[in-house]
């Protein structure tokens, strides 16, 4: 069962995603902020995929990805952002994050996540 970490400051987006992915048979943890996600990981939680917004209160998306990556280096990321102007930072490329894993809000159909998750995990498993 894929373990999905969703980090988004918008509760309805977190819950919407969680509902959809759980319906797809995935285990989903949600966090409003990156810090709490990190705390939960420190408490021993592990995830396969992290879906996160780039604009987050306090620690922003890029720092968050970096921190989560440092915590769990095999964690893979899908970016779900409401901003079309925010460019991905070049360091992310080194972690295998490129444009095809960036999804712009709003999504008409969340199945793209399911496909992307399967694609990412399929490569691993």
């Amino acid at each position: 069962m894929p373990r999905i970490l969703v980090v988004d400051d918008e509760a309805m987006i977190r819950e919407g995603l969680k509902a959809y992915l759980e319906d797809e048979g995935m285990q989903v943890d949600t966090h409003e902020r990156c810090e709490t996600a990190l705390q939960s990981m420190e408490q021993g939680r592990c995830f396969d995929i992290c879906i996160l917004d780039l604009r987050l209160p306090q620690m922003d998306g890029h720092e968050c990805i970096q921190s989560l990556h440092n915590r769990q280096c095999d964690l893979q990321f899908l970016i779900y952002t409401g901003s079309s102007t925010d460019a991905l930072q070049s360091e992310l490329g080194a972690m295998g994050i490129d444009d095809q894993y960036v999804f712009h809000k709003p999504l008409m159909d969340m199945s793209v996540f399911v496909r992307a998750i399967h694609q990412l995990l399929g490569g691993v498993s």
């Binding site: 918008e10 919407g16 509902a19 409401g82 901003s83 079309s84 709003p106 008409m108 159909d109």
Partner: protein
């Protein structure tokens, strides 16, 4: 008688000496030869002796015979000579004794030695008083005192011959008469050359002298007679001087010169006295009379010594010798000045018309008439105008004076009858006969004579009349004299009018010839040049003398026209028709140097009786032609420029009437140039009616006036025009040019750009808030999707939970259907999607950096777009893009284009979607999209062509406007093409256009510069 030479005899020529010598020689020769002959022939001495004797006798015989004949001949000659001498002597005596002449001789002392008997008879002077005396001693004159005698004495003393020395003898003859002698003589010399004296003759000329004296006396009588004549008798030679041999004393009175002065042309020749103008006449008339041997009568003028002019009447004739030779002219001259003056006065009366001024002539006529008829009123009048109802007087005489001219109506006056053509003589009672004539009544006119003035063509010009306050006697000259006056005046009027006309036309002609720049050439009807003015010399290069009398066709008419020229002349001679006459024609002429040049020509035929000549007025129009050509060229050039202007250009005059109308104007209005000309511009350009005020204003202010974006509705569409009115001032005439530019497209683009600018600012704003909007949108849409999933009976989790809860999902689904829950959820989803699209489109207007520009292959971009279209979710929902046939027409060797590939992909995708949408909505049977790339200069061009329904002009003009859409509400945002336009124009400095018409599909064209230049 030694004073007479003896006659010479022939025998004297043979002198005795010669005869003797001849005899001796002949005799000697005879003796010598005859002796020798005998000796030779006869040998016998006896016979010889006999022969000698015979010979001697023979000789004696011969010589005797010769001697005899000689003596006999001489005797005869002597006899004859003696007879002649005797007869001569008798003759001499007869002559000297019987003739009136005598012979005289003087010795070397100039003393008379002999004087023949006749002298003694004449003078009855004794010989003793003559012989031995000198002539002047005999004559008893003092040679020192009398010059005539002194010169005679000198002649004699120097031994010179003399002739005709005449003198009067001092000694009277028996009858007491003193004779006049005339003598001649010549000196005599002896054989040694010594002066021997004088020998000569004398004649008694007493009777001759007496006759002469008698003649002189009688001449004096004649002179006296003639001096009492009022003229001068003369005798003159028939030479150029009229050299006078005799003139009578009257000469002084007549000519002012003395008779002596005139005779022999001493002071002056008579010819010089004759007035220079009359000299030829005098000579000719005299010579004519002389030829005919008739008398001549002359009247001529002479100029006297005092310088005054006199008329001379002369009668004379030639004096001829027996042999018929002209010896002299004789005649008489009389002073005819007075008679001539009288005659001249009469002549002047008849002729004065030509020398008097108009008024003077008319006035003198009416005055003369008044005097002649002894009346108070006389008048001369002509018709005042064409109506012939009114008479305008030219001269009016009233009570011994001229009064001011008047005009009076004919009606009711006696004049009315006269102008019908007949003279009227009303000796009395005229006042009663014409009661309506106020003038007659006022002045109390009793009598009236009048005559019409009739021209030579029979036209009545007016009338002349005399009026008296007393009855007039209609005597026998009353009518003819009036008639003569009337005729004279009528003629004069005609002549003056003709002269006036002539004068006017002459003055006119002269003015034309003198001042015109035209060459004036006159030819006769044979085409021979008779007139050639200086301008003609200049234009054609022929001096006048060279052109005159030559055929016009040979000098100035080019070869190719000569035949036609001759033909034209011939035609005119035959028919009198000349189609080229009296109008201006342009033709080619030939210059003297051979070059041809254009001239303007008008030919005027001039008729002189039956003769016709032609005057041609010729103007060199080479320069004008050049100017015209240049003008035409320029005009065409300008017209081309004006026509090629993209603006409507309309020329108008200050009243707004169209004078110019260019091609654009034709295209805009559908009214062609010819139709528009002369019409008010508001009529042909109704939407510019309001501009009339501007036209006037522009002209009055002399400044162009601009009006921008005038709105007019045309074919149900709003049009914008920029109008500029330029005032025009050409050679004082005002007008204006109205320039109209249809700026509808520009206005729309501008409006679009304004919109775009707005969108860009919105874009900037959107970029800032997109995140904030997208999050709630995302929440809505995710929630919506989750709801739809979780009410779906398909999901296992749903069924499990429903079973636990004891709910039948199918029933719940039915319930949701019945209540439209699904529909509402779809509505939320769609609205969310639309909002999301708007946000993303708006974001497109936010400028982006050019860092995304990469060299791209347009073909690949387009293929990507096609792929995206084919897999596009929205598209698939409504129609199948794969149904559309895609034709590719890519330029094979087009290089790469610097652009933002993703953006361009989006643009192309947008076009493809639009095309698919348009074609599907129109249910096109075989939808087809052609994709084409072309390289056009610096631009790489993409064309997306569909065979859909196309667009109307109104639509196509607005497709790039933001929020303009033909799609149903909710189908499109209305931003697609405007965003594409923005991307192409603003971000790539490219071009984007659409070419479409209803039913013809649409072709969108995007051109991008190969090399993108930053900052544009």
């Amino acid at each position: 008688m030694d004073h007479l030479s003896k006659p010479e005899w022939p025998i004297q020529r043979l002198t005795p000496l010669r005869i003797t010598v001849l005899y001796a020689v002949v005799a000697s020769l005879w003796m010598f030869f005859s002796d020798h002959l005998i000796d030779f022939l006869v040998d016998d001495p006896g016979t010889a002796l006999q022969l000698y004797a015979l010979k001697g006798w023979f000789f004696i015989l011969i010589t005797t015979l010769v001697l005899y004949f000689i003596i006999r001949y001489n005797n005869q000659i002597l006899l004859e000579a003696g007879e002649v001498f005797r007869r001569n002597q008798e003759l001499f005596r007869d002559v000297t004794e019987s003739a009136s002449d005598w012979v005289w001789e003087m010795d070397d002392q100039l003393r008379f030695s002999y004087v023949s008997e006749r002298f003694y008879e004449l003078t009855n002077m004794p010989q003793s008083r003559l012989i031995g005396f000198k002539r002047w001693e005999v004559a008893g004159v003092d040679t020192e005192q009398d010059p005539k005698w002194r010169s005679h004495r000198e002649t004699l003393e120097t031994h010179l011959p003399f002739r005709d020395f005449s003198y009067q003898s001092q000694i009277p003859d028996v009858s007491g008469r003193r004779h006049y002698f005339k003598i001649s003589g010549k000196p005599v010399y002896d054989k040694g050359g010594r002066f021997k004296g004088y020998r000569g003759m004398g004649t008694d000329i007493t009777r001759q002298v007496m006759a002469e004296e008698a003649l002189k006396e009688s001449r004096g009588t004649l002179d006296r007679l003639m001096s009492n004549l009022p003229g001068m008798a003369y005798r003159c030679r028939n030479d150029a001087n009229w050299t006078m041999e005799f003139v009578s004393e009257g000469c002084k009175t007549l000519t002012g010169y003395s008779s002596e002065g005139l005779i022999g042309n001493r002071d002056c020749s008579y010819a010089e006295l004759i007035h220079p103008e009359d000299q030829a006449i005098v000579w000719n008339q005299v010579q004519e009379a002389l030829e005919k041997h008739t008398t001549f009568q002359l009247s001529y003028r002479i100029v006297t010594a005092q310088g005054s002019e006199k008329w001379v009447w002369e009668q004379g004739q030639g004096v001829f010798s027996d042999k018929g030779l002209l010896v002299a002219l004789e005649g008489l001259m009389l002073d005819a000045t007075e008679r001539q003056q009288t005659q001249n006065a009469l002549l002047a009366l008849a002729q004065n018309a030509s020398t008097m001024m108009d008024d003077e002539f008319y006035r003198s006529c009416v005055r003369d008439l008044a005097h002649m008829y002894d009346v108070h009123y006389a008048s001369l009048g002509i018709f005042a105008d064409e109506t012939r109802q009114t008479i305008h007087t030219l001269a009016l005489w009233q009570n011994d004076g001229w009064v001011e001219n008047v005009a009076y109506p004919l009606a009711g006056t006696p004049c009315e009858e006269i102008v019908q053509g007949d003279p009227q003589l009303i000796p009395d009672g005229v006042m009663q006969r014409f009661p309506d004539d106020s003038f007659l009544q006022r002045e109390g006119i009793q009598s009236y004579f009048g005559a019409p003035l009739i021209s030579s063509t029979g036209e009545i010009l007016g009338l002349v009349s005399v009026m008296g306050i007393n009855p007039m006697a209609p005597n026998r000259w009353a009518r003819p004299v009036l008639g003569i006056f009337a005729n004279r005046i009528a003629l004069e009027l005609e002549r003056r009018w003709a002269e006036e006309r002539l004068h006017k036309s002459e003055a006119h002609n002269r003015l034309i010839v003198d001042t015109a720049l035209d060459a004036v050439i006159t030819i006769n009807n044979e085409g021979i040049v008779s007139g050639w003015n200086t301008q003609a010399e200049r234009i054609f290069g022929y001096p006048r003398e060279e052109a005159l009398d030559r055929k016009l066709s040979e000098i100035i008419i080019p070869h190719q026209y000569r035949a036609a020229h001759e033909e034209g002349l011939k035609h005119f001679r035959q028919s009198g028709e000349g189609p080229l006459l009296n109008r201006r024609i342009e033709i080619t002429a030939l210059h003297q140097d051979g070059h041809e040049f254009p001239v303007e020509l008008s030919i005027v035929p001039l008729e002189h009786g039956t003769e016709v000549s032609f005057s041609a007025f010729v103007r060199d129009i080479t320069r004008r032609r050049h100017a015209e050509d240049e003008m035409a060229r320029l005009r065409k050039y300008l017209k081309n420029i004006i026509d090629s202007m993209p603006s409507v250009l309309v020329g108008v005059d200050p009243e707004g009437t169209v004078t110019e109308w260019n091609k654009q104007a034709e295209e805009l209005t559908g009214v062609n140039r010819d139709q528009a000309h002369g019409r008010p511009f508001a009529e042909v350009l109704p939407h510019l009616e309001a501009q009339m005020k501007q036209v006037k204003e522009a002209i009055s202010q002399r400044q162009p006036l601009h009006s921008e974006r005038l709105v007019a509705e045309q074919n149900g569409e709003v049009h914008y025009s920029d109008v500029v009115v330029y005032p025009l001032f050409t050679n004082g005439t005002a007008g204006a040019v109205i320039r109209v530019d249809d700026v509808t497209n520009r206005v729309r683009i501008e409006q679009m750009m304004v919109q775009t600018e707005k969108m860009m600012s919105v874009g900037g704003l959107a970029a800032g808030m997109a995140h904030e909007i997208n999050n709630p949108l995302s929440a809505i849409l995710q929630a919506c999707q989750n709801i739809q999933r979780r009410i779906s009976p398909d999901l296992t989790k749903n069924q499990e939970l429903a079973e636990q809860l004891g709910i039948d999902l199918t029933t719940v689904g039915q319930y949701f259907d019945e209540r439209g829950i699904h529909h509402f959820l779809d509505g939320i989803s769609d609205a969310g999607a639309r909002a999301a699209k708007i946000v993303s489109d708006m974001l497109a207007f936010s400028r982006r950096s050019e860092s995304h520009f990469t060299p791209s292959n347009l073909d690949e971009l387009m293929e990507t777009a096609v792929r995206l279209a084919a897999s596009d979710y929205d598209l698939k929902k409504k129609y199948d893009f794969k149904r559309i046939r895609i034709e590719r027409d890519y330029a094979p060797d087009m290089g790469q284009v610097s652009c933002d590939g993703t953006e361009i992909e989006q643009v192309v995708l947008n076009l493809l979607k639009n095309a698919a949408h348009a074609m599907s909505s129109a249910n096109i049977a075989e939808p087809c999209i052609t994709l084409r790339t072309r390289s056009e200069g610096d631009y790489a061009c993409i064309e997306v062509i569909d065979n859909g329904p196309g667009m109307t002009k109104e639509v196509s003009r607005r497709v790039f406007e933001p929020f303009f859409t033909t799609k149903d509400v909710g189908v499109g945002t209305g931003l697609g093409l405007s965003v594409s336009y923005f991307i192409v124009i603003e971000q790539h400095a490219g071009r984007m256009s659409v070419d479409t018409a209803p039913g013809k599909g649409a072709r969108f064209k995007i051109c991008l510069p190969f090399q993108h230049r930053s900052g544009t």
